[in-house]
Subunit: 397 residues, 2 copies
Amino acid sequence: EDLKKQQASKPSDPFSSDPERHPVLQVNTLKPFNAEPPPEILSDSYITPSAFFFKRNHLPVPQLDQASYRLQVEGLPQGVLSLSLEDLKTKFPKHTVTVTLQCAGNRRGDMNKVKPVKGLNWGVAAIGNAKWSGARLRDVLLAAGFEPGVAQWARHVQFEGLDKDVTGTSYGASIPLNKAIGEEGDVLLAYEMNGEDIPRDHGYPVRVVVPGVVGARNVKWLGKIVVSAEESSSHWQQQDYKGFAPGTDWNQVDFESAPAIQELPVQSAITVPADGAVIHHSDETLTVAGYAWSGGGREVIRVDVSLDGGKTWQVAQLRSGDKGQAPEPSPPPGRAWAWKLWEITAPLPPEAEELEIICKAVDSSYNVQPDTVPPIWNLRGLLSNAWHRVTVRLRRD
Amino acid sequence: EDLKKQQASKPSDPFSSDPERHPVLQVNTLKPFNAEPPPEILSDSYITPSAFFFKRNHLPVPQLDQASYRLQVEGLPQGVLSLSLEDLKTKFPKHTVTVTLQCAGNRRGDMNKVKPVKGLNWGVAAIGNAKWSGARLRDVLLAAGFEPGVAQWARHVQFEGLDKDVTGTSYGASIPLNKAIGEEGDVLLAYEMNGEDIPRDHGYPVRVVVPGVVGARNVKWLGKIVVSAEESSSHWQQQDYKGFAPGTDWNQVDFESAPAIQELPVQSAITVPADGAVIHHSDETLTVAGYAWSGGGREVIRVDVSLDGGKTWQVAQLRSGDKGQAPEPSPPPGRAWAWKLWEITAPLPPEAEELEIICKAVDSSYNVQPDTVPPIWNLRGLLSNAWHRVTVRLRRD
Ligand SMILES: [Mo]
Ligand SMILES: [Mo]
């Protein structure tokens, strides 16, 4: 009833039926809703509660109900398979995987400071780590008739959302076929987030979770899966979410010249203390905390922290669970989908009045973050993974 | 006869039967033999001729002949399999893969300039790209009795060389089981390099070729393969070839705290012009060339070049073959094992007397090279992949 009233009262606003959100979120845009939590919330818990998990919506949140929900699987020799939510839950084994999702635009704010870019001005918190449960995409594709011969012509698996713009166009994306069908890809058609039905903002009732791959391919409100020779033709696959050189501007950019972002590069950020914080201290030590993650299942193996602007570095403590709890089991090689939280307590330089604190992570391929932002600057402000720097002032009490 | 005489005349020198080498190589150490070609040779041809391919020997080159050669495969439930070279060539399909191999110490020279490190002082040419042919390790393991149950306890595949030190210890290394057995790992037991028997310096008659993985795991003169729950116990797996933080010194270093290097990070270098070159020019343009590669099958998607010390960047032309020839076919995602050569011809800044030329590469996970050396400096001088910089002087004729 309430819903009906809302729709009736604002017939022209497609966002009027969007869900409620937690007031602590820092809102980037209201319609569509894009928001991130305060950074310090991220390092408070290894699993990010869904209320605080960044929301990145391209379109209004669709109103879907579990009884009428159907997922179409297309493009395979035996034709279209249509699955209800009940089918997904009962006909396929349920798998739970802890996966970090990161928006391609996370930390875009750092690029905007160098030279303005086009896109939401995200801080460092357009990233979160959740336990996702659902059917394996691999199992569903096999049930829909995937067999080795399909790999002769198919190269991609496309996803279409049930969210629509005013013209009726849905959000869409695709991933490489080998990621979708591989036994070690761990791609889920998830119907639970952190042990509960996926909240509406995160794709209720079903979203794709593609571990190690940019958020933009983890299509929410999933309506259709298409096995195809081609990538998704959507705007977001073809004309967006690609990286370019720092010298490329909007007059020259050729979106066909760059591959669609899939696996993300190694990333880390400081969540505590906040940039610009004034630290009143009688202690002689400072605690710095943050997160670190890498795409493609590459495990973060080390985080280095500097309190002196990069002149000297100390190695932070990493953890894969909450403090005082047993960590998650070690993942097999190449399947480290979840972030690490890190922390270091270091002596304060006795004379310093201001500290430039920096973190940088190393992943299991020994990839590292670049030192500075300008050489990775790009017109869309994507892939912003330079060293994270915060400056704090010290005030002795 | 010659060989006998040589051995007889220098009974105390285990290196006396090492093969002849091309005189153009820049020798790092003679015994064991470690040498790299002049950098400009690397960009002369997409496939590096074996004579110019960097040699990285830890021990004397063993004297092996194809008739008596045997490869032992151990650790599988059905016991030891012993294969002759003839077996390898006739009982398994022959696969050819173009694979770039890079020494973990490539570009160590750049780290030595920051602060001395322990290791051979390689320039930028401890890397090469060759066509390797042989049996798939996967096929051999399956023939030796590998079945899915083995993956319950096995985690690694160890390799032992037939090269030995004075105490009789062989060179050894291991790789993760999933890389060895995966259908997309493309690991070869190679008996040909560029269409000929593998030269003695490169592992005659059989070496492992592990695409996307550091040279040190590509064991030459392969004598034994062991499927195991453990990594190789060799010095080179356990106490070497690992990365550490810049602050870690030889007093503190704990080799157990870091994972053995497997996949390498994104890399590129300038091969032409040489550092310190004086360019006499009447032209208004300068051509810069080099190579770019990344580990783990990640394809290089872009190389940026700066002629002004990193202030502005231009995108280089990439190629996967020789000029005027058809390029190699595009690899499937995640299986880009071969480097790209790149080139750019750019206007010379009219007033400049000196140019700092820089290159940096981006791979398909959008990982990038770090800007500077000191923050990735490590006591062994490994993983030296900061932007490559050369300075040239311009002299107008
Ligand atoms: Mo995103
Ligand atoms: Mo090496």
